[in-house]
Symmetry: C2
Subunit: 399 residues, 2 copies
């Protein structure tokens, strides 16, 4: 029998408890032993919980109990979760997490600590909720050089953009609907400004190039400036608008970014709607591979955590270097202004004025004046846009 603890009994933590309890038979059969929750750490009281005796408020009780070898961290944030995760790893316990902020900010340090202590630190649930992505990337695509990753990794923004696309809602209307349905927080900043997606693309990129990324150096832009007109233009181009976290990896040169993108309908990300997420990975051997599913939610996220817990038990908590990164690779993070992209622009100028500055462009039919540029550097584009003036919106285009 493996005895475990859950840290944080919110949506995800209670989901972990539910699965470990509800699917106990299957779990036992698959890992060859029982997986039993001995403690649940939470500062709140849960006196009406059927197993209220499991709850503790002091992390040391768990850290000092040598019977507990495995901990699921579902607290979120990078303050208490950081302290408690270190405490558990130092106490020789493996930790499994869904905490994207902690993994992206403190992954390097926590992996090193886990390796020193000879335990696991696993994080399948930190990106894409229940969608298998970390393990496919690390194991199934191991023989590949990953060339690019493009992901719709935030359900809230994808729900809003879908509503704008399908029901011609404004951003404000769609956000308000999302809040009513519980898909968006009261303060939606982390989602709509792209911070959440930034953490996730940071994790996937760091794993792919085996090098820590400084999140703060990833340019990021949210969806608050996307208008109904932009969405209508995309539609008339046979495309949709999505909030994308992407990275392009060319040998040791890497660029990463979070921004809204126009996705043409021949890209499999085009039709990913509502709260669904999808991550499109291109490897030099396998070509395009996409993983799709529910990127958030209690059961889906908890499903990924419990999958990791089971894997840790099967591998006796052994540290697996492939599920980590370091600061040793000396990857060059590309100057964002030198990165090349294709751009969509909506403006109040004439076609002649546009062509005088941009040369060959593709005008969007029916729109006042909207066009798609050829591939150019971010810097060159910004200079031309400044000269043009009267720009109503500019959105990168997936190519």
């Amino acid at each position: 029998m493996t005895k475990m603890a859950i840290m944080g009994y919110g949506v995800v933590g209670s989901g972990v408890y539910d699965i470990v309890t509800k699917n106990a038979d299957t779990i036992t059969k698959k890992i060859g032993e029982e997986l039993k929750v001995k403690y649940i750490l939470d500062i709140r009281d849960f006196d009406s919980h059927p197993e209220k005796h499991l709850f503790v408020k002091d992390a040391d009780i768990i850290a000092n109990d040598s019977e507990v070898t495995l901990v699921a961290e579902a607290m979120g944030g990078a303050t208490f979760a950081y302290e408690y995760t270190k405490k558990m790893l130092k106490a020789g316990k493996s930790v499994v997490t869904s905490n994207k902020e902690l993994v992206s900010k403190k992954g390097t340090e926590l992996f090193k600590l886990a390796e020193e202590m000879g335990v696991s630190y696993m994080f399948e649930a930190s990106v894409g909720g229940g969608i298998p992505i970390i393990r496919p990337l690390v194991n199934c695509l191991a023989a590949n050089h990953v060339q690019s990753i493009y992901g719709i990794m935030n359900g809230t923004t994808n729900y809003i953009l879908t509503k704008m696309f399908k029901e011609n809602q404004s951003f404000e209307e769609a956000l308000s609907d999302a809040q009513k349905l519980g898909y968006a927080e009261k303060d939606p900043t982390a989602d709509v400004e792209g911070f959440d997606t930034m953490r996730k693309i940071s994790i996937l990129t760091a794993l792919s190039c085996n090098e820590e990324l400084d999140d703060d150096k990833i340019p990021h832009e949210g969806i608050t400036r996307i208008t109904a007109e932009d969405v209508a233009c995309a539609e008339s181009m046979g495309a949709s608008v999505k909030l994308i976290g992407y990275s392009k990896i060319d040998g040791k040169k890497v660029s990463a970014r979070v921004c809204p993108m126009i996705i043409p309908n021949d890209c499999p990300l085009y039709s990913v709607e509502d709260v669904f997420n999808a991550i499109l990975v291109t490897g030099d051997m396998v070509g395009d591979v996409m993983m799709y599913g529910r990127g958030a939610g209690k059961d889906a996220t908890a499903s990924a955590i419990v999958g990791d817990l089971m894997d840790v038990v099967r591998h006796k908590g052994k540290f697996d270097k492939n599920f980590s990164w370091s600061t040793a690779e000396k990857t060059v993070f590309f100057n964002p202004s030198e990165e090349e992209n294709v751009f969509f622009v909506r403006c109040d100028k004439t076609k002649a004025e546009v062509e005088a500055l941009f040369g060959t462009v593709w005008f969007v039919e029916g729109a006042q004046c909207a066009f798609v540029t050829e591939k150019m550097t971010e810097k060159a584009f910004e200079e031309k846009v400044d000269s043009l003036g009267g720009v109503l919106s500019k959105i990168r285009v997936y190519k």
Copy 2:
């Protein structure tokens, strides 16, 4: 250093050799040691190959060389590949394969042998080519009861159906195009009659319910009877037609089938086109998850084999029971005639005649007389169709 052999130097086998050679640096870094091809088994001569000294025609040379601990089998078929796989496992070597026929027909026996010998027998490449599916199913979704699997798992038929859908080609025209492009064999039976898909759904189902499936008991139907009229009807319903291998798992009751299906546009399988494959798995906790990518081809399939080879090296060839099944579970394979489905029918009868027999149905607009039934058993449907007469086509509908 791990020394390995490749059995079969056709498309996939040569792809394995290429990746192991081309991406050697990455592979060494990830697995912590060199992976070196010592032998290639093939009955043909490869005298102009730069490493022609690697080629052998006698499997015993490999079996008797204790330096070789790992073998990639890319021979295909279930005769020689079966004998040679047994020989290698008995000699204490781990084997990795892309051979869906061998795994689906002889998996139970080969897993048992691998377990007895304390070696691995891995088969990620046997389903969906380079698409991560076996490992996500076994590891990432481990905490779930898998409830259903629906897969587009044959690139040839999907290419043909896409051409029929997008370019209004007939089945014969599209098949002929596919043959010219090398997507279809001269004798396309295994693909178009659904045998290939049958092997693959058999493997995924057996893994999910931990029980051997008798392939011959999986009802299967190909796409040769699909007409341009059927495809047009699907289109006017906002749907596409796909060759699907599916299984529905309800506790110990399992039904599996291969057949063309009408896929509505709110299902993520709808937009999977050309030679791409996708597998949609529903788990009780994670909900719908889909894996998408190239289901065949040299590099994609070899990418999955090399991923498995690397995993075997990392885990020192240890047998992992979760990547296997047995005959011990006593799963009940459902009587196919009792399975419930929704059906599309095209016929030369009147609406009144249809409604008199089927009760409430949904008529397809614009079509002569085409309708979709409510959910009913296969048996009840066949009886009604027989009574109706004049049926031009009948296709199951994804629900």
